[in-house]
Symmetry: D2
Subunit: 343 residues, 4 copies
């Protein structure tokens, strides 16, 4: 199957290139980038030089791309707002689209406007897009040709937490407090002083709180799983490492809940899911254990003193939190084995 990546200059786009070049069922045929057009892929992304390929970044118009019949599937690794302007004509041309931006992750255009500060550019698509979190949603091209690949933070949070709020009387929905720390690639590949090596090395800090954009997505999903409105506190941080997210969720127990019930829900939800690994209580997920993998590791702990559960998770923000999960979604929709190209 022939695939195209639109906008491959950032960290997400580059990771997608690496992953798709290794994918046995995909032929990566077109990789676009405005700024890199004309340059050889293996000059810009030397990590793929092992793969003999002659790919060159190009910058074709969206019409040209839509008209190329052999291209079946498009991955959009573009800024939000821009992504929608590509998605619309591609979908009209009958293409399959997996969007890694925030443009189609929300159902509510009002929430989009609140958190992204501009009117949604293609509101009608919000209703039909699939939220591409395969451990929690059943994905199928029959539902829609548009998959919205989740954000990195939401992935690390929703996988362990959504089944618990869905289970009903297992955890309280009030006073959920979530802290995450992300590797620096999460901030993107922007030549800004704040992201220079000497500014982030030997450094750590919170940022973007109390209303980080991913909050909108986390709450909308949690509310959907809980079938009532969930408001959370979310505190993102930067930690000095290239990749990875380490998330710690604090959620209040209900009168009847038990740690074993949490593990039961997890076991049932993630039975046979290759990329969700449940660790036993007392074992803490480590970023280095999941970097390079499409896996989320997570465990739960009960604090009897505060009557709270503490759920810890770890993932690679560029794989499970971005390109890897996009490919996992594609694998499922295409009927490939879920792990194809991801081991």
């Amino acid at each position: 199957m022939k695939a195209c990546i639109i906008g491959a200059s950032g960290y997400t786009g580059r990771e997608l290139v690496k992953l798709l070049l290794k994918h046995p069922k995909i032929e990566l045929t077109v990789v676009t980038s405005r700024s890199l057009a004309g340059q050889k892929l293996d000059q810009i992304i030397p990590q793929v030089a092992d793969h003999s390929n002659d790919l060159v970044f190009s910058n074709p118009g969206i019409e040209d791309l839509s008209n190329r019949e052999e291209l079946e599937i498009f991955f959009l690794a573009l800024p939000h707002g821009t992504a929608a302007t590509y998605a619309v004509p591609l979908l009209e041309a009958g293409k399959k689209v997996i969007d890694l931006s925030a443009d189609f992750r929300l159902r509510s255009s009002a929430t989009y406007q609140e958190f992204y500060g501009e009117e949604h550019p293609a509101q009608s698509l919000l209703k039909t897009a699939q939220y591409g979190l395969p451990e929690l949603h059943q994905l199928s091209w029959e539902k829609s040709n548009l998959i919205a690949s989740p954000g990195c933070y939401p992935t690390s949070i929703l996988i362990p937490l959504a089944p618990l709020v869905h289970a009903g009387n297992l955890v309280q929905l009030q006073d959920i407090v979530i802290n995450s720390m992300s590797g620096i690639s999460g901030a993107g590949r922007n030549a800004s002083e704040k992201l220079l090596y000497c500014e982030r090395n030997e450094n750590a800090s919170a940022y973007g709180l109390p209303k980080h954009r991913h909050l909108s997505e986390i709450e909308e999903q949690l509310s959907s799983f809980a079938e009532k409105s969930v408001v959370i506190s979310f505190h993102p941080h930067l930690a000095p490492m290239n990749r990875g997210i380490c998330t710690t969720i604090s959620v209040k127990a209900t009168d009847n809940s038990a740690l074993s019930a949490i593990y039961d829900v997890w076991k049932q939800t993630f039975m046979d899911r290759p990329f969700a690994r449940i660790l036993e209580t007392g074992s803490f997920p480590e970023v280095s254990h999941v970097v390079g993998s499409n896996r989320v590791d997570f465990s739960a702990h009960f604090d009897s003193r505060s009557q709270r559960y503490i759920i810890c998770s770890a993932e690679d923000n560029l794989i499970k939190g971005a390109g890897g999960q996009a490919i996992q979604s594609m694998n499922i929709c295409e009927g490939f084995d879920e792990t194809t190209g991801l081991l």
Copy 2:
């Protein structure tokens, strides 16, 4: 004034050596270490080689030390349990003692036993020891010759939070959730596989929750400031950097509270305190801004959606969180300027 450091082989002890060698009012005369006895200080701690000194690690008996009249003040950088066995005879000999271990941080010997797993070795001293957090407690040799220097996490938490719980109806005392990430030196200088460079580099994880030992100290102090029992959730993490703690506190607003009231309390509490720096809301303390300093930076943010305040702080775990704060306490008790040797 002649000073002695007992147990200078760890990161805390080494930092104390560096700081005391620069202190204009202190003559560091004796530095002990069982494992390093006989070795020159500047061979083991090359960072102090600029200071011309002929100090050699020694390993005298506690009696010898107690009998040396010229030694006025002792810093204990020993493991908990061991520290008390030194403190007792030194105090009996009329020495001033600043203990950097956990042995005298708690008032309750029951809490000590619960969190440290052994009976407290010198319970009578628990009542008299001063908790050496100079921004929150008035310190004086007249109160006691024994200062218990606070833990690194508690320092980063108590300075911004204690005045708020003390203020009465400003924040709720329930559902306080605190996340911290510490540089690796916080785990000590132990030759264990888990602390090898390749194991901690490019890695991050929670650890020690839900009942990290520092929790006992945080809660006891908060309860004392609140004048009622406070139970919190505390989640420590390791982040890949040598030094520094980044703390994020989530605390619920009361009906009448306001962000401005928090800042008012802080301004009043920390007016003229050189090592407590209040940042305006929207500004996030960064570890790199306080590493090498005895300062804590902190700011507060209001999340109207969850009706919670988010308080962020940063400190150097080995300075404000250990050796620097010990010296600051000594400065105050001795009547030196609070910042002597710390700028």
Copy 3:
């Protein structure tokens, strides 16, 4: 083909496990470790948890292993000295052995004794073992069932340099000066104070010079390619990163040499070799471009002022410098595509 790794607790052994589990032609059946026997592989090496496997570390006797008929190929990831004691009975039992230690890299037992400080434990094998550097040596099971996989530093040096000294009058053989810096995994997985995170982070230094053990291997190979004795200067350093080697070779020009002649030799030698990437002059190999890959990148520069060539190379010390190269050698001997399991 069924394979066994003997001694998989170190960084090299763990990397081999990861690579062989992904290898489509290999079934990794036995993984031994004295210290880890009885533990599940994916508990100890969580990076392989994506691969559904039930492997458990075991600690069978060497006789048992030799007698297991289904096991065809053995990878030894053991300390030098120990490796030989396993290789001898395995070879006698007709097994194929790829040794990643230093035990069979040298032809001269006197050199072994000089550099490793003990008599060689199996001198007769020194003559027959193949030096497993596939870009420079033709490998075949017909030559020997024993492959000595090269050291990490030698690999980064020999690939670009050996063809040049072999070419005759292209570079001078005197006054070759080689500096390398290695990631910390090169020092092994030993719980020593010197390798703690806080000791190596934000640090760099030379070590082990002037007579690092790998020097013996580099010189013996260079002498063999030059057909006369070559004595070099080799200066290894540690740099604060998990993986990777960055090597800079300074070698004097001859009267007739030219940069273009160097590139001509390289193009000829490495034509169609997938894991040797020649960069043009003025382009500097970067460790981050080869980490995770089995590739060596290298380029040459002419300094007309000192009449010297400067050759720069980069590799992943645990892949091309260890486990990856071992698999590449196996692939070639087995008639698999050279890149099988390595892309």
Copy 4:
């Protein structure tokens, strides 16, 4: 004494600010920066927030500065080329100037033009400027009001090497090969993609060879000390750490030389110099031992096989390699103790 720093936005300028604010004999009165004018110093350089000061970055004209009588000494932390345009009027106004750029480090304007690609802007000053390496040159305001503070690489190389080439028949002047690795701050505070955290972390590479600009300065100084022309090979590298330089020098022995003779020369040259620390052979200088200090550590090793000495050194590139050394030079010229403000 009142001092002014011109151009304090880069890493060197910021370090100077930190050091001068601690200097007991200096009152830092004016700190200029085009881009930061109007902002408070402790907002931009939070590390100095401990020092109560009301300094604000300003951007006065050079005439204004020259006319301010109370300002006695000026530190220029400007790009080369620009520095000279400030130095000329300041010197004409009778000010003392310490320039941290490359503008006055060379005696030869032809060499300047060759290495910096433009005509020297104030050639007459090249003859009078003092090269501010206090361990090797006697500095005095009587010689000149202009001090050219050396480059970071040259400092780490010249301190150990210059006395040896000066000693006559101790080492050969041909075939000197020098490799250095520098922390990333050496590349400056420029918002370029290449210096982003994720690009330099877990990475290492050579750069700028064979003709790095500092080469001109190293060779001119070595030639001057040797009293004959010295041509060297110099290979700079970047290593993933904030600060520090680790240098390894390979130099051929003469017939009569001996390691002990090298140490004798060093002991004589550096007797009583507080910032030059000689380590014994077999001991390797470590970057972490000198970071934060104005010291250079160095040691020598003899390789009998190649008949070469290997000299290793380490320094903090921003202190001994820049701001610290500038202050050390000032201390000496002003008759202060050499270490004032630098311990």
